[in-house]
Structures are given as structure tokens and as C-alpha cells.
């Protein structure tokens, strides 16, 4: 396993840890962006160019900015008085550690029998487009409806209630 893989994984995992541990919310959101970038580079290493660039475009370009806007609109930049971790943080940490232990054990047990095809898949964006329109057209249409519903729902949920204020 090369040095490059370790470096990129360090960025991704380090960014994730910083995103979860930092007290300042905006710093945490920026660390989350670093984690997203690290994951996008891992996708590129796995020869999934479309997924990698889509990850940057959607996550770094939209979701990270959404998170930052939400932090600003809910005045999250002030550090709360009682600290940033809840009272039951130990239980949460223990559960997460247990989940990781189970997953890691499963992976290490299965490591010899995992598939390991070495040659690069010859996948072009043209193939992805064809697949989206032929084999995956139903999920594509459902995603379109889902995104429309999410758009309308988010606008309605977050809209100011104008009528009540006047009465």
C-alpha cells in the first residue's frame, strides 16, 4: 500500500475526526470539507472519475455551503455554556467503537477471499450516460421526483410564516 494512499486516507479520516471533535462549528464544517475532498481523491484513485468529480461538485460545492449557512443562520458560532458534547457521550463513543470493531473484524476475516481484480475498468462517461438512460432510467426518474419533493419541502419548512405575524 503506497505512501499516497496513506496520505489521502489521513486527510479523509483526519478531516472527519476534526469535523466531529472541534468546538467551533464553522471550523468543523471546513474540516468536513477537507474530509469530502479526501474522499473524492480516493474515488479518483479507484478510477471512478465521474463519481469523484460529482462528489466535489455536490458535496463541497453545495452541501458544505448549506451546512455553513445553517450554522450562521442558527447562530452556531457562539460556543454554548455547558460544552459541546452531550451528557451521554461515553455511551455514544462506546457504541461507535463497537461498530468499528465489528466491521474491522469482518473485513480482516474476509480479507483473503475478497475479490481483487487488477485491471482498470474501461468506463467512459458515455457508458454512464447510456446506463442511466437504459438500465437505470427508473431510479433516475424517481430521483428526479425525490429531488423536486425535497426542494419544495425544504422551502416550505424553512419559509417564514408571514400570516401569523399580522394577526
Amino acid at each position: 500500500m503506497g505512501f499516497v494512499f496513506y496520505l489521502i486516507s489521513a486527510f479523509a479520516v483526519g478531516g472527519a475526526l476534526a469535523a466531529v471533535l472541534l468546538k467551533n462549528l464553522v471550523h468543523a464544517a471546513l474540516a468536513l470539507t477537507v474530509a469530502f475532498l479526501g474522499l473524492a481523491v480516493l474515488f479518483l484513485r479507484l478510477d471512478a472519475q465521474f463519481a469523484g468529480f460529482a462528489q466535489i461538485l455536490v458535496y463541497v460545492g453545495a452541501v458544505a455551503i448549506l451546512v455553513v449557512f445553517a450554522i450562521l443562520l442558527t447562530k452556531g458560532s457562539e460556543v454554548p455554556k455547558e460544552g459541546v458534547f452531550s451528557k451521554t457521550w461515553l455511551a455514544g463513543l462506546a457504541i461507535a467503537a463497537a461498530v468499528f470493531a465489528v466491521l474491522a473484524w469482518a473485513i480482516v476475516q474476509a480479507a483473503p477471499s475478497l475479490p481483487n481484480q487488477a485491471e482498470v475498468p474501461a468506463v467512459t462517461v458515455n457508458d454512464i450516460g447510456n446506463a442511466l438512460m437504459s438500465r437505470y432510467v427508473l431510479p433516475l426518474e424517481i430521483i428526479a421526483v425525490l429531488l423536486t419533493a425535497a426542494l419544495l419541502g425544504a422551502v416550505i419548512v424553512a419559509m417564514h410564516e408571514k400570516e401569523r405575524a399580522k394577526q
Binding site: M1, G2, F5, V13, A16, L17, V20, L25, A28, A29, L32, A35, F36, L39, L42, F43, L46, F50, A51, Q55, V58, Y59, V63, V67, A70, L73, T74, K75, P80, F85, S86, K87, G92, L93, I95, A96, A97, V99, F100, L103, L114, P115, N116, Q117, P121, A122, V123, D127, I128, A131, L132, P139, I143, L147, A150, A154, V155, V157, A158, H160
Partner: protein, 105 residues
Amino acid sequence: MTTTPLAAYLIVAALIFAVGLAGALTRRNAIMVLIGIELMLNAANLNLIAFWRYGPHPELLNGMMFAIFSIAVAAAEAAVGLGLVISIYRHAKTSDLEQMNRMKG
């Protein structure tokens, strides 16, 4: 140049998933919980793409399509979730989850 084995990518994905889970379970602010959820979704995407690359028949594009749809769904869910957080903040004047422990509005 030896290629990285599949198990390495899976361990990284499991690590990011565990970190995201810890964040979603231990932080007080609602937005940090959403950040944890996004990390978990990303870790699952990495898992999908790793299996797509190293598995048999990558030309069928199963894993890549799944990951792309997962990215779209995660973005939609983040938008609605953050809209909810903003709306609750407007009502309860706080985004602290410890203080929102009753159903009475």
C-alpha cells in the same frame, strides 16, 4: 507498483463511518448530528465504489450508479434536514438537542 488491496479501502470506510456515528451520537448541536450523518453516507459511498472497482463485472456500473444516486439522495436529505434545523431554531430559539427533550412545542 503494488495496488492497494480492497481491504484497505474498506477499513478506511469503516473508520469514517465510526467517526461519523460517534459524532452523530455525542454532539449537542443539531447541525453536528447532520454532519455526522453526512460522514456516514460518504463512508458507505466509498465502500460501494471500492467494491465496484475490485469486484467482478465493473462494466455493469452497478456500484458507481448506486454511489451516484446515494450522493443525490444525501444532498436532498441534507437540504431538508438543515431546513428543519433552521425552522426549529426559529421556534425554540436554540439548536441544542439536550434542551429539546419534550414533545410540547
